[in-house]
Every structure is written in C-alpha cells, then in structure tokens.
Symmetry: C2
Subunit: 427 residues, 2 copies
C-alpha cells in the first residue's frame, strides 16, 4: 500500500532529488560505493545526484553496522521489517525541513565522484525465462507452429548462471572466443564470437532466504525479495547454438553479465504493482504451491524497460544513445514471488545476496524486443542507426545501456539508473 | 613424475597409516576439520586414522597462515609450487624417524572424533558431462541410433550447478518435491520425487584460476587444479524429465550434492596417470585450444570408482554396504586440463575453491554404471539386493556411498575416503 513515503508532494533538501528522473526522495535505493579518495567501500543511498553515506546516518544500529560492509548482503539478511523502517527513516531524514540536514550534508557525496560497486557478493545466480514473448520469439525459430514448449505454462523455467562473472554497470565486457560452427560446415572452429547480443532482464536480489531442505511458500515469497535492478545477460548466440544441447547455455553466457549498481527496494515500486498479466483464457491454473491470490492481484510491475545503443560512430558525431527497444516488466508470465517459491520448492536454499534474473523481457511487438536476436531476426534484418551505421549484432566499441522507469499519475517517477557496458575486442 | 614421496617402502610413525587403504603417507590429502571440543575449524592432513592439525606443523609460514582458515580456498590460491613443497615437507615430517614426531604427536586428532567440513567455500560449481558411456547410455533413451549429440566430441559439455547446496559427506539429503508429469497425464502434479537417483562423479577443486577476460592455455591448465574429490550429484529423474527443456537441469539437481571431505593433491595421483583414453579411430581431433601433447599422454587417471548402497533392511540385518557399481575415472572423454581450458576459453574467470564435477562416470558395461537410471534401465529392471530388497531408484533411509581407489603395482594404494549420504523423507 502506498504510504507517506510515496507522497508525490514530498521534497528533499537535497535539491537535485526534486524532479530527478531516477532518484527522487520517493525512491531511496541502496548501493555500495567508494567515496572519492576515501578508501573503503560502504553502503549508500542514492538521492538525486548525490549518495548519502549510510554508515554516518542516524538509523537503527544494526542497519549502520550492516552498512559498514562492502556489500549489501548483511542488509539484505535483515529482511523486510528493518528495510521498511529504514525507508521510512530515510524519507524523514532527507525530507525538506529535516532537523538532521546540517549533520547529513557532510556525508553526502556527488555520485559522479563515487565509484559504484557490485551491490552484493553473489552466492548463486539463477536466470529465469519468464519473458513469455521472448520465449515465444526464440521458440518460433525452432518450432514455428508451436513455439512454447509444453512445460512453459506449468514450470517457471530457469537455469543456473555464473556468479563470478557478474560485474557492475560501467565495467567493459570482453568479446568472448569460442567454438563456432557454421550450418554448412562439418566441424567447428575456435574464433571470436560473431553474434554477440544483449538480453534485457530485471535482476531480483534475495533477502533472508531459506535453509536447505525447506521451501518458501508463495504467499511469503515476496518478503524474501530485497530489491530489484537491471541485468544485461550478454549472450554469444553462435557459441550458444553449438554448445547448448543437451544441458543448456554455458560459455555462451558466463563471460560476463552486467548489473545496475542501485538496488530499488520493493517498497519504492509499490505504487506500480498491477495484476498478474492476464493469462489467456484456457491457460493452465498454476499448481497450488505457485498460487497466491494477493500475488495474482498485484504481483506484476508496470515498469518501462529500455535498451539503448551508443556506437563509436555515434560518439564521434556527438549523438545521444539511440533507443533499440522499449519494453515493460509486466511481460513476465510468472511473478517474482512465483520464481522464489518455485526455486525453493524442492528444498534448494536461497541466501542473502543471491541474484535471480528474470530472463529477457520482450514486448509482444517489434520495437519492444529485448535482444538483437529477436530485433534483427537473427541478423537477417539489420537495425538502422541514426549515424548511418547498421547493426546485426553488437560490435566492438558499442555501448549497450539498459534503463527502467516506473511512472504513474499521482506518483513520483522512479528510475533504476543506468545499467551500461561497452564491448572490448576479443583478446 | 613419481618421486621420493611415492616410494612404497616409505612408512609413517603414525602406525595406522601403514597399509591404510585410503590415507597412507603417500597420499596426504588436505581437509577442513574441527577437533573434538576444540571449537574453530582449521585445515588438517589425513594420515591413517588420524588428522594432523596443519596450523601447528612446522611448514612454510604462508601455508600455516592459510591453514588457520575454515576453508581451503587460501591454500588453493597459493598454487602448485607451495603445494608441492608442502607435500614434500609433510612426507618428511610424518615419515618414520622424523625428529618432529614428539612435537607433532600432540597435534594429531583421531579422525572419528573430528567433524569434517566442506573443503572449500565454493564460489561457483560447474558440472561437466565428460563420462562418454553415461552420455551414450542416456542419449540412447532419446536417440537409440545416434545417442551422442553432434557436439559431444568437439565440446566438453557442461552447465552451471548450484554452489549453495553442496554439502560434505555425512550430511543427509532431503528428498525433493517437485513437478512430476506422468507420460499419460496432460498436467503435472506437485509431489515428492519418485525417481531419486545418485550420480557417480569426480570433483575437481580449482587452484589459482584466472581473471575475467583471460583464458588458461590447456598446457597450463593442470597447474590450476588444486585437487580431487568424489561427488554425488543427486538427481530427481522425474523432475528433470519435465523441467529440463530448453535450458537444462535446475530443480532436479540443486536440492543437494554430496562431496567428499578430503582433497587429494594431484601429486598423490601422479603414479596413476595414463594416456588419454583412446579416442576411437576417426574421432575428431580436439581444436588447438584443447590440445596438448603432455595432456594427451598422461591426462587421464586410472582410478577405480565404486558406488555402494546400505538400505534400512541391510542395516537391520547387520549387512555391509552392497556394491552397485564399479567404474573407473579413465572413462572421461575429456581430460581435466581440457575441462579447465575450455571453461576459461571464453574469458570466464575461475577462482580458488570453485568446484568442477566430471559428470557421471559410467563404465561401458552393466555392473559399472554410475547411476540407477542406467543400472535399472530407468526403473524397468530393479536391482536385487542381498537383503532380499529391490531398488528401482533410491528410497528413504538408503545410504549411498562413493569410493575411489588408485592401485598399481610398485606403488602404495591411494584412496579418497567415503563420500556418503543417506536420504531423508520429503518434508
């Protein structure tokens, strides 16, 4: 339920926050940062163009202690109650007229002077496949008449990703080498990837989690979500096509994944919750362990998602990034609560700092596809860029930028900040 | 090359080591243990029935420091040189006539009074599929005439597993629940797994590793292997059959994996290295990034692998565990060096404490299959046990025990110790 922290009339004494497209006082996301020339990493809160050092703020003692860590894991572990209390407290502290202004002003750092780090030490990273339009588009390549596999509408499909190679926004990604096999060739060759792609995904950060052998009921699953981010699940389509049978993607994905630095608290997104996107008439009802009325009623997010590209040619001409795609987080067939409940339904333990990817979130129509594989139909229909360049897949020097923004009349706009990375040539 | 530490005539002043089937002085594996009533976890060396506290041994300063940790990660990170020096030093210290006997005797703990822990904090766990007979047996179910997929002899197939649910030998495994769909049913139901299986695998522990964007050449890959263990990759066959398309195994595997506590140094296995198992005439030559002459000449291990079962019925009758399978580590189509080189070939970083699974290592013939799926032909031909019981798959209360032993004339026998776990009923 929206509360005082969501009041669109609320202003901050941090002036850049007021009207800020991403970080108004109604957002208050957490991240890990190193202040300019000040050594150690600690937890901060984004407010406008500034970062508040949470270790120096008058908040609950256990929160301050947890904030002194170079990752959000300890804060995530505290769970929903302390997080909600922290949000309410930060909203007071940063609001116009707060008696703490003088004290806190010394602990504000310009964001552009800070180094932003990976938000958490990721124990395990699991990538789901809940973007139904993406699954349909990819499935069509193999099965034009029956693109979705029979399990898709029963099982929230997922696989394990590589935790070690997840990097924070701004870290360049090295083009991978791998085995490529042309359809007309008998044998593969080892060469730099020729079909490098992005995938537009949401990141879900896990809070308290569960112990091995126990599951999280779907009705309690939302309380184990610590927050949200953006995830670019870089993919080497040619490596993937040759390696993925029978056990799924491996080297096609684990050379690097890019995640946004700011963790948007679930509470900041409350006003943008909508009913679980209509399952078409006749779709199977989820099994009881995946079914919760409250979740069906408000388990989806109306959150615009964008992919932009900035090529070397555009940079030379001083052009702004070009939008490749506009999609929305509501295109998830399964809710985040269903993802969490399913993941733990067999007793697999989830831990604070684990990251879930949503899978690629494509809109149903061209213009809203979350990968170049879909947008260019596997390279057959190149994208025309305003610089005169074209792209079938991502080229060296290209920068891919993901953005997310929630907007609704009567509420302040909430943004995620950029998730961006440029591509370095293969070694 | 075998050296003085492999001399079969070498005896230890720790009497139980002499003739010990697993831990003679020629083995000297490392593990993490808590001595009885002595609090903190630290690194130890298995010698006969005893564990030597490595933090109290006169070894190199950096090794002692690393040994004070509750995981082997820091020791793994030191790499090959320090490990070889440690092995040579331990061999001297524990040999008959060592002047250090009196000093070290106080730091020996009976193994049965120690708690043995997971050897490392696993950053990422990757499971390969290099057991060619297993891949063939499983492939036959789907493609009787052409069981191996076209990529198998080009790509060391692997997928990412779940690191958080790996447990040390002795920890019971809870039977998972999940979506099961009978072939004759339209829809799945959520119920306890009815086709619980084990998988006989080797574990490979990663040493120094690599940084993101860089690869490890195959000729240097062996130096990034810190040691070996046994791995039971518990598998829920019914959950797997329904969930695994198109992205591979997920909940069918991540409810628990069991690993042996002792890490066998590569040097202990030197005498048992053999030529890479003959690729049948006409098999494709590995691509250059996977090809190294020394690796082809000695990259495989002649190491007997066993699976045993102890059922509640057998326990009641005081029976010993019954052998279900006798296989060998030489049934890997790809060497461990090829696995490491392939994993990093795209720039994916490998880190100290990462664990690789080999995949199920079945022998070519019945009697040597590494899973019940193969042994009972998917439950169609139950195994007869000496207690009069039969098994199609693993039942509640059953204990599965993996063992590995290397034997060769002119050398002491080297064992891995048990990798065992019993099955608890579903919650």
């Amino acid at each position: 339920m929206p509360d005082a922290t969501h009041d669109p009339a609320l202003k901050s004494w941090v002036r850049s926050a007021n009207g800020h497209p991403d970080f108004p006082i109604q957002n208050l996301p957490l991240g890990v940062f190193i202040p300019l020339d000040m050594g150690s990493a600690r937890v901060g809160v984004a407010i406008g163009d500034m970062v508040l050092d949470l270790t120096m703020a008058p908040v609950a003692e256990d929160v301050r202690e947890a904030a002194a860590s170079p990752s959000l894991n300890a804060l995530f572990a505290l769970g929903e109650g302390p997080r909600k209390a922290l949000r309410a407290r930060l909203s007071e502290l940063l609001a116009d007229g707060s008696p703490h202004r003088a004290e806190l002003e010394q602990h504000l750092h310009p964001m552009e002077a800070c180094t932003l780090l990976l938000p958490a030490k990721i124990g395990d990273y699991t990538d789901f496949y809940v973007g139904i339009h993406h699954a349909t588009n990819v499935g069509k390549v193999f099965r034009p008449d029956n693109p979705l596999l029979p399990n898709y509408k029963h099982v929230p499909i997922a696989y394990h990703g590589r935790a070690s190679s997840v990097r924070v926004s701004g870290t360049p990604v090295r083009r991978p080498k791998g085995q490529l096999k042309a359809p007309d060739s008998e044998t593969p060759r080892f060469a730099p990837c020729e079909r490098l792609d992005y995938e537009l995904e949401m990141a879900v950060w896990i809070g308290p989690g569960s112990t091995l052998g126990n599951s999280i009921p779907v009705a309690k699953a939302a309380s184990h979500v610590a927050g949200y981010g953006l995830l670019n699940d870089w993919s080497a389509r040619d490596i993937q096509a040759w390696e993925y049978q029978p056990l799924g993607p491996f080297l096609a994905k684990n050379f690097g994944s890019t995640v946004s630095p700011w963790v948007i608290m679930p509470e900041a997104l409350e006003p943008f919750r909508i009913a679980q996107p209509a399952r078409p008439e006749g779709d199977p009802k989820p099994l009881p362990y995946l079914l919760d009325e409250a979740d069906q009623a408000g388990g989806a997010l109306d959150l615009a998602l964008e992919v932009l590209i900035l090529t070397p040619g555009m940079r030379e001409k001083g052009m702004a990034p070009h939008r490749l795609s506009l999609s929305n987080a509501q295109h998830m067939y399964w809710t985040v609560a269903q993802m969490v409940a399913h993941h733990s339904s067999n007793g697999c333990d989830l831990n604070p700092g684990d990251m879930l990817g949503s899978g690629t979130l494509s809109a149903p129509d061209a213009g809203g596809f979350g990968s170049l594989l879909e947008t260019t139909k596997g390279g057959k229909e190149p994208v025309q860029l305003p610089s005169g360049e074209t792209r079938k897949f991502v080229e060296d020097g290209d920068e891919i930028i993901l953005r997310a923004r929630a907007a609704r009349e009567g509420f302040a706009t909430i943004g995620f900040g950029d998730c961006r990375a440029s591509v370095l040539p293969a070694n």
